[in-house]
Symmetry: C2
Subunit: 368 residues, 2 copies
Amino acid sequence: METAILTQSETLTLPRPLALDCGRSLEGVQVAYEAYGSLSASRDNAVLILHALTGDQHVASPHPITGKPGWWARMVGPSLPIDTDRFFVICANVLGSCMGSTGPASAAADGAPYAMRFPVITIRDMVRAQVELLGALGIEQLHAVVGGSMGGMQALSLAANFPERTSAALIIAATARHSAQNIAFHEVGRQAIMADPAWRGGDYYAHGKGPEKGLSVARMAAHITYLSEAGLTDKFGRNLQDRSEKTFGFDADFQVESYLRHQGIAFTDRFDANSYLYITRAMDYFDLAEEHGGKLANAFAGSSARFCLVSFDTDWLYPTTESRQIAHALNAAGKPVSFMELSAPHGHDSFLLDVPALDRVIAGFLRQ
Amino acid sequence: METAILTQSETLTLPRPLALDCGRSLEGVQVAYEAYGSLSASRDNAVLILHALTGDQHVASPHPITGKPGWWARMVGPSLPIDTDRFFVICANVLGSCMGSTGPASAAADGAPYAMRFPVITIRDMVRAQVELLGALGIEQLHAVVGGSMGGMQALSLAANFPERTSAALIIAATARHSAQNIAFHEVGRQAIMADPAWRGGDYYAHGKGPEKGLSVARMAAHITYLSEAGLTDKFGRNLQDRSEKTFGFDADFQVESYLRHQGIAFTDRFDANSYLYITRAMDYFDLAEEHGGKLANAFAGSSARFCLVSFDTDWLYPTTESRQIAHALNAAGKPVSFMELSAPHGHDSFLLDVPALDRVIAGFLRQ
């Protein structure tokens, strides 16, 4: 595969305050984004990619901290499913995150980090910032909006709340509302962070490293939900880590323990704990039907977009039933929708991994 | 229902050292137990109940700390499925726990608590202590051994390793080995405890309350795995806690958050964090096939017991497939086994809750 060529990596400062669902508004919001490919003269070939909870704008460029390839480098580039020879591909760091867009680690008007003074935001607030970015780039209507997991929630929200802004929406491994179990897992993560004395009520920025242990535990718990039980068994089973016998101790005897600990610790190098609190809260608050009078079909009443929904058979975080409910609502609203459950062993994380059927679905949907 | 009459609540001190799987042995092991009903003259009516991870000997008597009814008061008593008019019912706190049996909070030879000097124990070690108790009570062979979850693991281990000790084994919502996902969830809990500075490497006994925040997070994460997704949705859905609107804050807006926080905090009043580390480790180490040359059927070669296996259709911690593998192994070993999956909405915790079909299975199996 050819590597995508980054054509723009910039930070836009919104010229006007961003009004939020909580009733507050934020001044001077920054939106860090990347773009690949060229915008056509008629400005009709833009594809907006929306990232997941811990993702960022580095969709197909190396991550500046980890040095790893962009999180969807396998999907975005010349001749790849999201073809940068054809499409002008944009990906922006979400509001509330920590990779250049305004979030709790950003300076408030008094020059100190917002920390917990940052307003509680919603998925719709994130989308408002994305729409402001489109305006600044002179894009009235997207060819398509594409997102997996929390990116799929944003794609749904954009199609519902800014229907004139996109002619197609591709939603992968997502849900139209967070379930009690989803909220419960996020709450465990938040409590793990807040239980860490290094969190200091959120005011840790001037005090070294912050709540790394709590954030690591939060990531470990979440990571389990991203993988399937069968996938974990195939990958690790009960294999021991660099030893032939159990040690009768509390070291990471099992490979799965060592892997999880590594996932937790590595995460703290690249992510802000307060951003984790705010973004998980936004996801928990997400209930697209509730925003539209309690009926999901109503959310799509104003849309003239084509929809495509994809779920994975081993995803137990946002299982196929969640996508099916969205498909039913779109059908009830009389909107064009294709919906497919793909078979893949990786659980929720399948949308980030090597699933050739997903490549074909995305390429095919964007070509229409 | 009539209340069970406690006939004995005692602590036995083992007269000889208990040899452990790790190679060490423990001197002066104490086993706190309760008994209900009367042992028959022929000593053939004893039923040993084995408790789960955070259970204890108070199977049908009020818990001394919480004041709540015994954890299986609905199952154990006169005319109840485990009928104390008919059976002599015994339940002992497991080795490594904190309700009177020897564990990490107990005094070592130097008078100070073992803390992390306590040896890493196994499910089989717990069973060794139970068998010593049977010896002290003069019970050569049990009428039946009964256990759910980790209690089921002990029941399997007892039937496999001490086959002469029981004529029947009833195993509920259990597994013959901990899966990678099971280990992963336990590791999250252990890391949450160890990340709490109040844990102090395990030496917190002389320093106030110990790692309450870490233990609370561990309990919250585990608690999610005990419930079904549908059960959580039925019980809580996205209902708000004592408010009509979201607060756009980090309070427990949702009932499920409030419930989980309560579960976490309440747990720290009654459980020792180091015990949680040791008992989860014992469960992770459990692999009955591995103990018997890698073939589960071999584990049961010496047994002449009747077996009954029960799983619940909404249990995703130890799902039906786990019980089915045990049933296959018992069939391969030519042992009498009945196996049923019961339908119940509560997930793994179904074995503790009101599931009338379980009552009938238990009563019927014990009557044979």
